[in-house]
Symmetry: C2
Amino acid sequence: MTSGTLVPVFAALGDETRWSILAALGDGDASASALAERLPVTRQAIAKHLAVLQEVGLVEPLRVGREVQYRVVGGELSATAKRLDALSAVWDRRLAAIKEIAEGL
Amino acid sequence: MTSGTLVPVFAALGDETRWSILAALGDGDASASALAERLPVTRQAIAKHLAVLQEVGLVEPLRVGREVQYRVVGGELSATAKRLDALSAVWDRRLAAIKEIAEGL
DNA sequence: GAGTAATGCAACTCAATGGTTGCAGTAGTC
DNA sequence: GACTACTGCAACCATTGAGTTGCATTACTC
């Protein structure tokens, strides 16, 4: 009920730079170096972000020759949305029940 | 496209303690002091968490006599789910388009 | 094989944040 | 009016995390 593995995904999504990276990857797969040319941060910073994104399954690495390209795992985002939706449904029911009680039965 | 006000909400949801607080509030409205009796952290720590939850609209304060009870704003959770769902739909389309191109026209 | 261009790893800085304790203020209760 | 219990504020500590620079390593290219 406490959402299990959801929290780390939210934590990963709670950072603007990470969204910039996802947005950039949305234009097509890219390596950390390539991303560094498009974003105002270092390659290493991007590498770290990619690591946390990969950790929660939002992105996956793909070795191409001497570089490592990253690709957005679309399914993970949808899955997160669905799980959050399910959670919010539970919440709504719960809150409705409370309200009913509070409004004096 | 970068989701605007969504990121802070995710950041707020990316913390286990905050979920504990939300879960506890799910059993009914409660004050920071009341929550402190049920959770393994200080009242002040809870107060801070409540502040960030309130900041992103997940919770709202309600003065009752000399105490301030907090209530989960159910709608905000659902709204976040919906916005994330919409976002992931955009992503899926985008990724599908890329895949199509990548697979050689 | 030499050169080049990518990744990987490590150490470091700095700011944010989760947490604490302590105290002041405020508002019910007797 | 005195007591009590709750909130609010401030200072402080420790940890995490975003970001940097520097260097080693690996793997294509010529």
